[in-house]
Subunit: 448 residues, 2 copies
């Protein structure tokens, strides 16, 4: 060993004759493999491309069949037709059109508040009534009008829920603005007692009121912008990139052609109670792929498309939830608009009122569970606790993952809960819906 | 707009009353979505975990069936039985055992060379004969002994190919060492003419010779080490991590249980010539998954396992080929031991002899194509140009990708060539093998 070291050192010292190839004697160095977790390597962009290529290739035959049989644009047209041509589906469209009324009420209230025609208390009352009606009115329509389909009802309720969150934010931010201006005015008038100060105060107050009125002209921009949090000056992107728009549009169009949906929904129609577990496993993978495609199409393609059109600058619609090693990390990062809204208009105001952190988090969780239930139970016209329980089941899961699993194992656990948990809830609803329909049918046949 | 700016600035200036919540009025900032290529984000470690979870879940039913029917260890035992118990398969095992002879010949030759018993020319002659026999001897055995199965033949030829590359490197490095010592000795004796220099020269030369002899005791370490490039002092890892060994072992064991293999190989047996394209598409995905599992099991689990056992420090067995945006990048990064060997013992020596870069690259490519053909044609006992043509088809593909595709599109093209190209070559061999077997069978039945 000593002699080995000797000759090795000797070679290094004696000036290599292969000077253009200095590594000819030692070509190894101490290092870990990239896939070992200890290497710290994490650039797997290529793996994402692999997933897309595999998804396309695996479905290539069905994809081509679809294309040849129905042409490219059959599905979007079908969906448009579903809403426009069929008179039985009009209620959902009407509901969406009617929602403008609530936007105008909020706008009118803020306008009155800004010029001082409404007192703060009366304004709050009007806003509260308006927001309550936004939540209750579509429920009443969906439950009472028989011709509303589950899909139409879900879309209408989704629109109303988004509108509720947006107008709540709009109300809050405008109130905060006024409070700030009053506070500044008060501090100014307190510290300086001469006329000039009073003039400044009046001037400021006027400009604030007038501009608050002017802002309201931007309310429709906010309604269509891909965010739930109102702001006076949204960051704007410098220009509309046409190639970007085109790529997002292509992604949205091609997502219609993925045939997973049809192949996965078939076995559910002739469902057998005894084989539920097998159904669950068979349902899990296509359901999960469907969710991923929905995520990409809605949170990346569609929202970026709208943002590019409106030159809306903040494109953070999701964070890196695919790397989440704990359950809370996933919930905090997969849907940033809702997460931002909850933080800004629900959690932080609660903390300011002295509510404890723990109670605040639980309240956010309960509100989230409520809206999940709201968006599923009402369109299906049956009140079942599955979506609510599904959200609640996240709490023990989060505890388990945080206690026992770390790193890649935690990440795998989050993925498994997504892949298995979701279809379980979906299966429960489908089962109940099927039983309900069946009972109604047999009841309908009975008196005949 | 001016007024909006005014009120906004006013709010910032006037000292926020919500000082514990400074972002209450502006909660958006100019930024891109993470999945947009312009964001520069690339941490998708979670996507890799997703692939593993999906692979396991998709095969969960087959996986469980396999486990319940055959138990965990049936497949490895079957493979061991294939080599040990069945007397018809002994030739492959014998071939592997006989390979020790060539290692000992190389060792003996170097020992003689180091003490000066063999001249450089005679040593080169012995090495050349030894290396030629390493390549030709197993071919003769596989082709002449009828009882060698394709799998046994492929394993034996693989072992001999690896041995050929290792002993070639061993020969080269020892020669370089001697050349360097002689060169140093010559320069020393030229510059200093007194006796002390001569003494130094003799001393150095002796120590070099003796240590070259001592190194040879490490030859078996090199034979088993996961590298093809010989070196005097390999970098060593400080200790054997038992948990690391265990994890790699678990990965190797679980890779035996993936049932893709069985389900993919069935349709080939009753192959129909007219439906080749459909077969190709049906073959592509499982074949590709099989290749990925092979890659992970061999290049990550097995090589790291051996390296950990031998405390071999350099774990770079592959680089980030999954991100490759050009075809050459893939070939240079997916198999680092071979790439390193080609660079060190084939390409760079050629450049030193004045061969042009272009000719050198082509020669490396031809050699690689030759070995691909060698490892496939001989075990199947039929000489077909498909593997060779497959390698050669990489050249126009590389040109096309480099010219027309960039970034993620280039990456997707490399993936598609991997997913589609490989099974195409495999299909050609399987088809020819099937036809050959069929002809032999009917010929055997004929005279009856």
């Amino acid at each position: 060993m000593d002699r080995l070291t000797l000759i090795h050192k000797g070679q290094v010292n004696c000036g290599c004759i292969y000077s253009n190839n200095p590594s000819f004697l030692s070509c190894h160095r101490l290092q870990e493999s990239l896939l070992s977790s200890s290497s710290g390597y994490s650039n797997y962009r290529g793996v994402l491309n692999w997933c897309v290529v595999m998804l396309v290739l695996s479905n290539a035959r069905l994809f081509l069949e679809n294309l040849l049989k129905y042409g490219i644009l059959v599905d979007p047209i079908q969906v448009v037709a579903l809403f426009v041509k069929d008179p039985y589906n009009m209620p959902a469209v009407c509901l969406v059109i009617v929602s403008n009324v609530f936007v105008l009420v909020a706008f009118y209230t803020e306008r009155r508040l800004s010029v001082g025609c409404f007192s703060e208390h009366f304004g709050l009352l009007v806003h509260s009534i308006n927001l309550s009606v936004i939540l209750c009115f579509p429920v009443a329509v969906v439950l009472m009008v028989k011709s509303v389909t589950p899909v139409g009802g879900a879309v209408a309720l989704g629109v109303y829920t988004i509108l509720f969150l947006k107008l709540y934010s709009y109300k809050d931010v405008n109130k905060w603005c006024r409070e700030m201006c009053y506070a500044k005015a008060r501090s100014l008038s307190r510290s300086i007692s001469c006329k000039s100060a009073s003039a400044t105060f009046n001037g400021k107050n006027n400009s604030a009121s007038t501009s608050a009125f002017n802002q309201n002209q931007d309310l429709y921009y906010f309604v269509f912008a891909p965010t739930l949090c109102y702001e006076l000056n949204f960051p704007r992107s410098p220009k509309i990139r046409k190639s970007f728009l085109l790529r997002r549009l292509c992604e949205m169009v091609s997502s219609w052609m993925v045939p997973i949906i049809q192949s996965s929904m078939k076995p559910l129609e002739d469902m057998d109670l005894s084989r539920m577990v097998e159904h669950l496993l068979r349902l899990a993978v296509p359901n999960h792929l469907l969710w991923l495609i929905f995520f990409y199409t809605f949170f990346h393609s569609a929202m970026n498309f709208v943002a590019e059109l409106l030159q809306f600058g903040d494109r953070e619609f999701y964070r890196d939830w695919w790397n989440s090693e704990t359950v809370p990390y996933f919930w905090q990062n997969w849907n940033i608009p809702v997460h931002k809204w909850c933080l800004r208009h629900f959690y932080k105001p609660m903390l300011k009122r002295g509510v404890s952190k723990w109670a605040g988090q639980s309240a956010v969780f309960l509100a989230s569970a409520f809206f999940h239930e709201y968006l599923v139970s009402v369109p299906l016209k049956m009140l079942r606790p599955w979506a609510f329980l599904g959200m609640m089941a996240q709490l023990p899961l989060a505890w388990f993952v945080a206690c026992f699993l770390r790193g890649n194992y935690g990440n795998a656990a989050v993925w498994i809960s997504l892949i298995i948990g979701q279809p379980f809830a979906v299966l429960m609803y489908v089962h109940d819906y099927y039983v309900l329909q069946h009972r109604e049918e047999s009841a309908g046949v009975g008196p005949d």
